[in-house]
Symmetry: C2
Subunit: 232 residues, 2 copies
Amino acid sequence: MTKDQSPSRAGTRRTGARRQEPRLKQDRALRTRRAILKAAAEVFAQRDYPSVTILDIAEQAGVTKGAVYFHFANKEAVAVAVAEQFYTVLLSSLRPVLDTDAAPARKVVELLRRTARSFREDALIQAGSRLQIQQWAIESELPTPYVGFTEILTGLLTECRDGGALPDGSDPEALARVLRSALFGAQHISGVQHGWSDIVERTEEIIQALPFLASAAEDRADSSLPPAQEAI
Amino acid sequence: MTKDQSPSRAGTRRTGARRQEPRLKQDRALRTRRAILKAAAEVFAQRDYPSVTILDIAEQAGVTKGAVYFHFANKEAVAVAVAEQFYTVLLSSLRPVLDTDAAPARKVVELLRRTARSFREDALIQAGSRLQIQQWAIESELPTPYVGFTEILTGLLTECRDGGALPDGSDPEALARVLRSALFGAQHISGVQHGWSDIVERTEEIIQALPFLASAAEDRADSSLPPAQEAI
């Protein structure tokens, strides 16, 4: 990203028509980079890391191998970029829910539902999850999304406890770890068995299994939530 | 196993001292095979499948490569045998709990606790879990322990529902899938982050998160359960 942005900053120092050309080049480079990352996510979502080649990614993106190598040093660099984008997109997709005035238990429900929809519909999220499981095959350390996710859940569940919405003696941190484990396990098994097609239903079962979430999920009067985004 | 058993059956047809020798040989072969499987489980629990060699397994077992090849055609055959033993041991370790007169919810609690202890203490269970995750690297299909595990849980949770121990409208099958996902996720994250050292605590959190299990876990009066086996 830094590499792609620097010509832009340099370009703004020039004036008139002369700065048009580098900006156009930069736009095209950015578009190509995005197309490569999107294609790489599609490939990594379907196949295991060791079997994927730069050529596979180039063909999926409709570009040359050279174009991929212009943006990424090697396959590992592509995987790291996909995993980082996965992390960013997953966590930032939760932001609109956190910014509402909904009750904290309802926010937890919405976070779980959004994440489940992302797993079902977004190759980037599927690829990120699959790459995580194959961390051993990748030398660079990938970001661990469940750490940030658990922190967000812990914050919301602490609000739930302080508002009296949790059963007596509940530990918000422990409950956050349980939800993280359940969602992680559900998406993994759903991914292996059904290509994530049933992850939304499996996640709804998790919500229904916890009485305080089940009753928050029933509360249809809560209109303070942003409209559901089918694809994030 | 079949291969090892057949000399025994043949041996019983002979009489006196002459049948002693093949039986001794067979005993030694069985002991060696067990030692190899135990060593292989230790290696597969610690390292990823593609990086393990037959020599690693032989050295861990204190035998020659030839001894390993006498019992197994290749590394894949060893991995399959470990995964099958994992499946058998995991499910059969639950049998004593199922055979008691404990309340079904209490049986669920005990199943989860026993499984968690197995993950913490038994290299075979750790290896089985780790090999499962790497199924893609292994041509033969490994047994999927969570299928049998989920069936057992569904049976017990159906008893819970019929006995009025579940919240109204609970679906035993759905609840079984939630417990399976939560336990699978917890053991995976615990394995990656802490070598399974905290899986017992993480599993206790799952039990505490579900009110009907938490209250069954509290019931200390239930003495119909077999004594806890620290190592299964």
